[in-house]
Symmetry: C2
């Protein structure tokens, strides 16, 4: 059983109440708590030693990653983050300096985005460090972007470059909060998600939520230098395109909007974010399924992104 | 270094913003998000296999405990819970039936208190199961009860019975949400906390927050049957009074109010909650320190409640 199958089973009949606008299944939960004009966003995400980072990784960056992952999910809804609580599960014997440095990483990123750290829980996890971050934020009701609004004919965009994140970016990445806010303020974004499981998986999340299909253009997919480099230097690695499609932890914005807006978007983006690449990587189609077009023709894409838990 | 010392170090300079009413250091964080008349409450808490429950414990009860601990903290602020997200960290090989049963325990308790489960994160924790719950709730601004309002002359109350929770109650306890709401609606409660670290520790939290002292009456402390029983049957166990003072995981409400209200409280409580004991266990005094009065005189109480992390 893989992670997505487990989540599907556990999400079957979750308790709801009349505050719930969107429950489990999007980048954040969306709640109506009678905040005038706004919805509350609520998200949790954990990183585990030996899974999401190693013992040797710089502790500030581990803290940065733990919070940045949640911020990236707030960005994916076009929201603004407000406050976080941190669960820190530590071995009984721990290095205080390392724990303080992890918190430095969390706090430094939090300050940059005006996120308050308002509490947490410290507990023992005898074998390894685990950090779980929960974050609330908010978004104007008419600006909130879900995974489910893709329409046939939409252009599909992704910012940044994909693949090879494990070479370093996964500890360093910048959550695309400013970019997502700008998109929601200037365009009618139909659907959005952050690329965490891998482009192919995350496109599929949009397609499933919108009950549509997509055709990607293999030449248009922005492949990172790290992915190209690892393909050259490590013979066991995936080809760069496959790395970009499947490796995940890119934390870039993947979104769709009407194709008539595509040129205006590309122009505006270049002025607003001149250092961050934006790529139109394909289009939404009515027929379900994910296809990829290359020089050799159109193929169904079967490659999956990174998924926790091996099949048993 | 123990848990409280670690929390103190990590809490020294946490990022804040203008939404924060109360940050780290109370049962919940309190946030002003422009909800008319109300504040948002935000809490996280984790339970870990081998620390807070054993592999042999019934999985429904493990789920119950994971959520009930957070609900107990919402109760301690006199709040109403709204929605939770769950981080489930699992070994790569796990028993799906057990995980579903844990969720049954969470969901069943959530339904009883109209709490929506709106998402979560599943990840791998190779060595043991860990469940982190984050909960939001809300409270009327004029009903919110913090840890810090104790005044000299206040009567100190605790509901239920204390000690011996590990014999079973720690997996079964009912969060005192209804009782706390009733208290806040009918009385001017000066300070409140839930007894999780142990009565002596949790009284100290109130004293430190209020910059006051207390004198407890040893005969008035409600000792559970489980604590008495374990003292009889297991020669290595603590005497029952010490168990009630220090063992923790009781999840009862500990609170103070003006002593002039004490009789009206005891009368009203007996009618409202006839099955749940309420005990006046002492009084708040101006001089800092925690003392306990018994037949043999007044002594300074040095016994601590349960604290994570041994001194190194």
């Amino acid at each position: 059983m893989n992670e997505l199958e487990l989540i599907q089973i556990l999400s079957r009949s979750l308790p709801a109440n009349n505050s719930v606008v969107t429950g489990a299944g999007d980048d954040c939960a969306v709640l109506d708590l009678n905040i005038p004009g706004r919805w509350l966003l609520f998200k949790t995400d954990a990183v585990v030693e030996g899974v999401h980072f190693t013992e040797a990784d710089p502790p500030q960056k581990i803290g940065h990653k733990a919070l940045a992952r949640c911020l990236s999910d707030i960005a994916a809804m076009a929201g603004t983050p407000t406050a976080a609580v941190i669960t820190l599960a530590l071995p009984r014997e721990f290095d205080l300096k390392r724990v303080e440095a992890i918190y430095d990483g969390i706090n430094s990123l939090a300050r940059r985005y005006q996120v308050a750290i308002v509490g947490g829980d410290t507990t023992t996890n005898p074998d390894r460090l685990l950090i779980s971050v929960s974050l609330i934020g908010s978004v104007e009701k008419d600006k909130c972007v879900s995974r489910s609004g893709s329409k046939a004919g939409d252009a599909i965009f992704v910012c940044g470059e994909l693949g090879g994140s494990r070479a370093g970016k996964h500890l360093n990445f910048e959550p695309r909060l400013a970019e997502a806010r700008w998109l929601a303020e200037h365009f009618e974004i139909h659907s959005m998600i952050d690329v965490s499981d891998g482009l192919a998986s995350d496109v599929r999340h949009l397609l499933r939520a919108g009950n549509v299909g997509a055709e990607l253009l293999s030449d248009a997919i922005p492949i990172s230098r790290a992915a190209r480099l690892q393909a050259k230097t490590e013979s066991s690695q995936k080809p760069p395109l496959l790395a970009a499609l499947t490796e995940g932890e890119d934390f870039e914005l993947l979104f769709t909007l009407a194709s008539k807006d595509a040129v205006r978007l590309l122009d505006g983006w270049k002025k607003q974010f001149p250092k961050l690449r934006l790529s139109c990587i394909g289009k939404i189609v009515a027929a379900p399924g994910l296809k990829i077009r290359s020089k050799t023709g159109v193929q169904t894409l079967t490659a999956h992104g990174y998924i926790h838990f091996k099949e048993s």
